[in-house]
């Protein structure tokens, strides 16, 4: 009996290790050198995050992906990054106006999509986060998102046989540190590039747009592109889109970070790539459809605090024009990105 016990335990441990490695040995989830090559798409500007000190490797990316999908990062192991950022919605959260975190707590803002993050100069609706690598610390520390302490998370990872192996594979030795964890996650999120929508193919002369969509593009360039600048569809600035502040949320936007009155009620201009997939819209998710967004811009009933001239140009679109713009926005849906197997949940059986 005394002899048998360890055998039973080691068989069990072996089985657990086998199970936890199962998905990574499934060819669908296998990441190769080619999968982690970062290329700047034709027509894109130089990225902000260049991976200079964090060259992606298959093992690093695989580790980052696992962390992204693992609720171990939250206090009660209930919530992973992917609980809020869903792949089918370009990593936004379909049909949730405000984010939902641990114990069903409701957050203050709408979940944005995750795409082309390597070009981001700052993150979050208020730009409070200045670097892609440290971004995961924000939801982890947020008491209504993942509510965990980074020190506790590192301790949990150190106790986990899968991660001891995975960190060693990614970094050469068994040290598990926040720096390594964050770098692995940045390899995963930084490689989320969306640049293969019908719009992109049209720009590369590989595909055509319908006349209706082209009309939308013309209006878009005239009225919207000053803020939603091509090809990223954001100029990374903070602007007011004229929304009346929600009196229950009282979100001051960028002013929270800078303390400047001229930043009150301004928010990061969001990219519009994959926008047909990322409803609801705006920082508080107040609009459910693109029609509602277009009505807002067209009606021009703006909350005028800190409104800039670019916004006034969006007024007075007729119904046809609005439909054309929406048709154009739908050409920004990038199926290559949405169905990219590299970003799929490796823990899903």
């Amino acid at each position: 009996m005394a002899i048998k016990k360890p055998i039973v335990i080691s068989v069990l441990v072996f089985a657990i290790i086998l199970l936890s490695n199962f998905t990574e040995t499934n060819p669908y989830f296998t990441i190769t050198e080619k999968d982690v090559a970062f290329e700047v798409p034709k027509g894109f500007p130089a990225p902000t995050y260049t991976f200079a000190n964090n060259k992606p490797t298959p093992a690093g990316f695989t580790l980052g992906r696992r962390l992204f999908y693992d609720p171990i990062l939250s206090k009660d192991s209930s919530t992973s990054c992917a609980s809020c950022h869903q792949r089918i919605a370009a990593f936004a959260h379909i049909d949730h106006t405000l984010s939902h975190g641990i114990s069903g707590l409701i957050g203050k803002r709408n979940v944005p999509p995750l795409q082309n993050l390597a070009w981001g100069q700052s993150f979050m609706w208020d730009g409070g986060v200045n670097h892609l690598e440290i971004q995961p610390l924000t939801p982890m520390a947020n008491p209504i998102e993942m509510a965990s302490d980074i020190g506790d998370v590192i301790r949990k990872l150190k106790r986990n046989p899968y991660y001891r192996e995975a960190f060693k594979e990614a970094f050469g030795d068994t040290l598990i540190s926040s720096e390594r964890m964050l770098k692995a996650m940045a390899q995963f999120t930084g490689l989320m590039v969306s640049a293969n929508s019908r719009y992109d193919k049209f720009m590369r002369h590989e595909d055509t747009l319908t006349q209706f969509e082209l009309n939308g593009l013309v209006i878009f360039r005239e009225k919207c592109a000053k803020c939603h600048r091509e090809p990223l569809f954001t100029d990374e600035s903070y602007k007011s889109s004229g929304l009346y502040p929600d009196s229950t949320l009282n979100d001051p936007g960028r002013e929270l970070i800078t303390g400047r009155i001229k930043d009150e009620n301004t928010f990061k201009v969001p990219s519009l790539r994959n926008v047909a997939m990322t409803y609801p819209y705006m920082h508080d998710g107040r609009f459910r459809t693109l029609e509602q967004v277009l009505d807002h811009y067209s009606k021009g009933d703006y909350y005028m605090l800190n409104v800039t001239p670019e916004l006034l140009a969006t007024r007075d679109m007729n119904d046809l024009e609005k439909k054309e713009v929406i048709a154009f926005l739908k050409t920004l849906t990038d199926k290559t990105f949405l169905y990219d197997r590299r970003f799929a949940d490796p823990t899903y059986h």
Binding site: I134, N142, I150, G151, S178, E179, A186, T258, G259
Partner: protein, 251 residues
Amino acid sequence: MMCITTVLAVVMSFSAIAQPLQLHFRNVVDGKPIALEKDNYKNGLGQSYTVSNLKYYISNIQLTPESGKELTDSDYYLIREDDSASMNITLPHIPIGHYTRLTFSIGVDSLHNCSGAQSDALDPVNGMFWTWNTGYIFFKLEGKSSASKNPGSIYEYHIGGYKAPANCIRSVSIDLTGISLMPVIVLPPDTFHKKLKITGIDISADISKFMNAATPIDLTKISSVTDFHNAAKIADHYQQMFSLIKKDYGY
């Protein structure tokens, strides 16, 4: 004969010898060691307070020699009252000689606030990192005060910010005139290998000076500073809390 030349060589190359120098940070209140969560202290307004947590970053350490170029150390150090090892900073190669000034910064410069994931003193596990508005907390002091109107009578100063609206990096300059860093050479009887004893400079970080500075912090009014509001004012206070502990530094 051999032995004599070795000794001579050691003596003659004194000026080129570098040795480690330790900076000892001594966190005190009114000159006495802090008793965490125990003793009650009083500020200049007669308001009592305790200290339960004290941490701060020291960086950009520079030593000015009497002649020659300034020596600069580019590392970051987190001094924590709950970890005595953290209070000793070792600068490994300081040439012996006379120095006139020690300067250092309290805080983390803009480059290191914008560099992504970092390790050691700058590892976010140290609890000195703001996630909602990226940046390091340069100085953290927490405790209780009967004057505070916060729940649980706590007071808390989490001060950071490397750019507008609150730049809280502060530089401290300490006069070292009259202090010479001389090597301590131990020649054990059986060998002629020189051994240099670490010499050190003691710096006092006095919380009573922080609380009082030019005008005392009123704990009824300013008992919680955790973002840029009032941060620069508190930073001016921590700039005032450092001084040299006078003792016999010459050897």
